[in-house]
């Protein structure tokens, strides 16, 4: 009943065909984001992140030596990260379909990726600033900029914790039959939400597994992120296919509705 508004929009024949195509693009934008981000970070010499144990001179040397590839890598990172917003918009669409009553989870799911994108963008921005005039900049300033960029990348997890938790809640609360997402995907989101806390140690630890080059705080979180992204993409594409199948059934069995 409370989903009637959404259904009316979705099942309007003309708009629907266009909408799913746009939605399909948005769903794929997550994989595009990942495909750009990996090579871009390698190009910018920040995968793995520059170790916190490096001296100011070592960091400065790296920025002077590779400033052009760092600049190009940061541009690509910035463009790739911007796709985070488009991908999360696709998730918001499904949250709106799943949520009944006051669409508060939907509102949250729209706000938080906006915040998250900005926080994510801080990293390439700060690395870019460091690559602007590294020859004349004091090595200490480059070091500080790199520290800030690394922490922005891995420590600023607050909005992400809430975002993945709300995805989990929305999926587990889904009362549609069959469920739009499998329930274990809901639990995966809650797990990822808790997992994000692993990034918090990077602000106080400089080496080993809990630092921003560490197995737990960096590689583990990145691996779960990749698993999460692939899982969400596959399940959203599957949900989209069944939605389209239903749309075809509805328009065949109810020509009046299809004409409206």
């Amino acid at each position: 009943m409370s989903n009637a508004y959404v259904d009316d929009q979705t099942f309007a024949p003309g708009a629907f065909a266009g909408n799913t195509r746009a939605l399909r693009w948005l769903i794929w934008s997550g994989m595009v984001c990942l495909a750009i981000l990996g090579p871009a970070m390698l190009l910018a010499r920040v995968l793995p992140l520059p170790a916190a144990t490096l001296s100011a001179e070592q960091i400065a040397h790296r920025w002077v030596e590779h400033k052009n590839s760092i600049r190009l890598g940061c541009v690509l990172m910035m463009l790739g990260i911007s796709l985070w917003a488009t991908y999360c918009a696709a998730i918001s669409y499904w949250i709106r379909r799943m949520e009944q009553g006051v669409p508060i989870l939907t509102y949250l799911s729209l706000i938080l990726p906006g915040t998250g994108t900005v926080l994510f963008l801080l990293a390439p921005f700060l690395w870019s600033v460091a690559a602007f005039r590294p020859e004349t900049m004091s090595p200490d300033v480059i070091l500080a900029l790199n520290d800030a960029a690394c922490l922005a990348f891995i420590w600023l997890v607050g909005p992400f914790i809430i975002q993945f938790a709300l995805y989990g809640i929305a999926i587990l609360q889904d009362k549609s039959a069959p469920n739009i997402f499998p329930r274990w995907v809901g639990y995966l989101n809650i797990f990822f939400s808790i997992e994000c806390f692993c990034g918090l140690t990077t602000a106080s630890v400089k080496s080993g597994p809990l630092s921003w080059t560490g197995v737990i705080s960096f590689w583990n979180v990145m691996a779960v992120f990749a698993i999460w992204l692939v899982t969400m993409t596959v399940t959203m594409l599957r949900a989209l296919r069944s939605l389209e199948a239903r749309q075809r059934t509805v328009s065949e069995s109810e020509p009046v509705l299809a004409l409206r």
Partner: protein, 204 residues
């Protein structure tokens, strides 16, 4: 909305797809993604601890001596008691004794609160002696591991409180899967402590 009904009819044709396995999965199958995921992360953290201890065995030995083993033992007893109460609550819920299950859940929550109180005292004691995560690697790991465990315990208490409310609501006719799920999460937190306690307090 005359067309709305037939539409939802189409929706329902998908079937419920509930698995009919011969074995019983406590809670629901999907929940174990979360539980095994958490256990995997804690396992990695334990290996991290072992890794750091290998680097500075002397420092770890001398720092461990400053921990109060009896306090750790008390924390363990409190948690295991909580787990026992949760087991009894699940049993009561299976027999349909909602009030009794609620009382036992409340007992488990009290155990969680007692753990929190004891843990706070331990932290305060450490801070008063000037010991912080900055002191050395051992104390960094001590605060990270016990803090993360405590955070999970709080999540577990929230889960038990939700179950308590659910059991009180008679309109909720199928709370058993939820009770089992919440209980499984609680036991996971307990299991983590049962490994954490000897690792931090006892193993030298």
């Amino acid at each position: 909305m005359p067309s709305g009904n037939s539409r939802s009819g189409v929706v329902l044709e998908g079937g419920d797809g509930s698995p009919s396995l011969g074995t019983h999965v406590p809670g629901e199958a999907g929940l174990w993604v979360l539980i095994f995921g958490e256990m995997l992360v804690f396992a990695m953290l334990f290996l991290t601890y072992v890794y750091y201890r290998d680097q500075e065995p002397e420092l770890f030995r001398s720092s461990q001596r400053t921990l109060h083993q009896w306090n750790g033992a008390m924390l363990t007893v409190v948690l295991v008691t909580g787990s026992l109460l949760v087991v009894m609550a699940v049993q009561a819920a299976r027999e349909g004794l909602r009030r009794s299950a609620q009382r036992k859940l409340l007992g488990a929550i009290v155990c969680g609160l007692a753990f929190s109180a004891l843990k706070s005292l331990e932290y305060v004691d450490k801070f008063q002696h000037g010991t912080t995560p900055e002191t050395n690697t051992f104390y960094m790991l001590y605060f990270v591991l016990t803090g993360l465990h405590w955070f999970h315990l709080i999540l577990g208490m929230i889960a038990l409180a939700v179950l308590y409310r659910m059991l009180g609501n008679s309109r909720h006719d199928q709370p058993l899967a939820f009770v089992e799920g919440g209980a499984a999460y609680w036991h996971m937190v307990d299991l983590v402590w049962v490994i954490l306690f000897p690792l931090l307090y006892l193993v030298r």
